[in-house]
C-alpha cells in the first residue's frame, strides 16, 4: 500500500513534482473490463489487435488514465484532494506488461479557491510519452 501524502494548500509549491511507476497487468485489464463493461476486441483479442496493426492487445486508455486518480489522491496533494477536472490525451498505445512512469508537476495555484493544477504525463520504458494531460484539484482545508 502506498503511503498517502497529506499536503495542505500552503505546503504545495509551484514546480513541485511527484512521480511513481506502475506495470500494467492482465489482472488490471480484466478488472477494468468487468467494471467498465468495455469488451472492445482491441483490448481483449490479440488477433484482432494485430490484424489492426498493433503489436498486441492495447491497454484501455482509461485504465492508464485511472492512475491520474492515484497521482492526485495519493501523491499531490494526497489526502486533502478533491478532483475538479481532468484532461487527458493518449499520444501512443500502451501494451500489456509495460511499466509506465507517471509524473505530475504543479503548474498553477489559485489562492482564491485553494485549487492547484497539475501537468501530468506517463512515459513507457523507452521514455516515450503515452499519456499527457492536466488535473485540476481542490485542496481541502
Amino acid at each position: 500500500m502506498i503511503p498517502i501524502k497529506q499536503y495542505t494548500y500552503d505546503e504545495i509549491t509551484l514546480g513541485q513534482v511527484a512521480n511513481f511507476a506502475v506495470t500494467i497487468t492482465e489482472d488490471m485489464m480484466s478488472k477494468f473490463r468487468d467494471i467498465s463493461g468495455d469488451v472492445n476486441p482491441l483490448h481483449i483479442s490479440e488477433d484482432f489487435a494485430k490484424d489492426k496493426g498493433y503489436t498486441g492487445r492495447v491497454v484501455y486508455g482509461m485504465l492508464s488514465a485511472s492512475f491520474l486518480s492515484t497521482m492526485a489522491g495519493m501523491y499531490l496533494p494526497g489526502e486533502n484532494c478533491v478532483i475538479h477536472a481532468v484532461e487527458v490525451k493518449f499520444p501512443l498505445p500502451v501494451y500489456l506488461g509495460q511499466t509506465l512512469t507517471f509524473t505530475g508537476e504543479v503548474v498553477s495555484k489559485v489562492d482564491a479557491y485553494n485549487t492547484i493544477e497539475l501537468k501530468v504525463s506517463a512515459t513507457n520504458s523507452n521514455n516515450q510519452k503515452v499519456l499527457r494531460g492536466k488535473i485540476r484539484a481542490g485542496v481541502l482545508k
Binding site: H84, A85, V110, D111, A112, Y113, T115, E117
Partner: protein, 82 residues
C-alpha cells in the same frame, strides 16, 4: 496599461475559450444565468485564465462580490491600476 475596451476584448476571448463558443459576446450586464455552462468549475476556469492573461491575483472576497461581467471588468481595471 490596457483600457476598459482592451480588457473587454481579452476577457471576451477568455469566455469564448472557457465555454468553447466563439459566438459569445460579453456585456456588462451578463451573468452566470445567461451562459448555460457557467457553473462553479467554469468560474474557476475564468478566474485562472483571467489571472494568467492580466497577470493579477484575485481574493476570494473580491470574487464573491462579483455580480456580473461589468463587476469583473471593474475589478480587473482596479487591479491593473494598482
Amino acid at each position: 496599461m490596457l483600457n476598459r475596451e482592451e480588457i473587454r476584448k481579452n476577457l471576451n476571448l477568455i469566455f469564448q475559450d472557457v465555454f468553447d463558443d466563439t459566438t459569445i459576446e460579453i456585456t456588462d450586464e451578463m451573468s452566470a444565468k445567461d451562459i448555460e455552462d457557467w457553473d462553479s468549475l467554469a468560474q474557476i476556469d475564468l478566474i485562472v485564465a483571467s489571472e494568467g492573461t492580466f497577470n493579477v491575483k484575485f481574493g476570494i472576497s473580491e470574487i464573491a462580490q462579483l455580480k456580473n461581467i461589468g463587476d469583473m471588468l471593474d475589478l480587473i481595471e482596479r487591479k491593473l491600476c494598482q
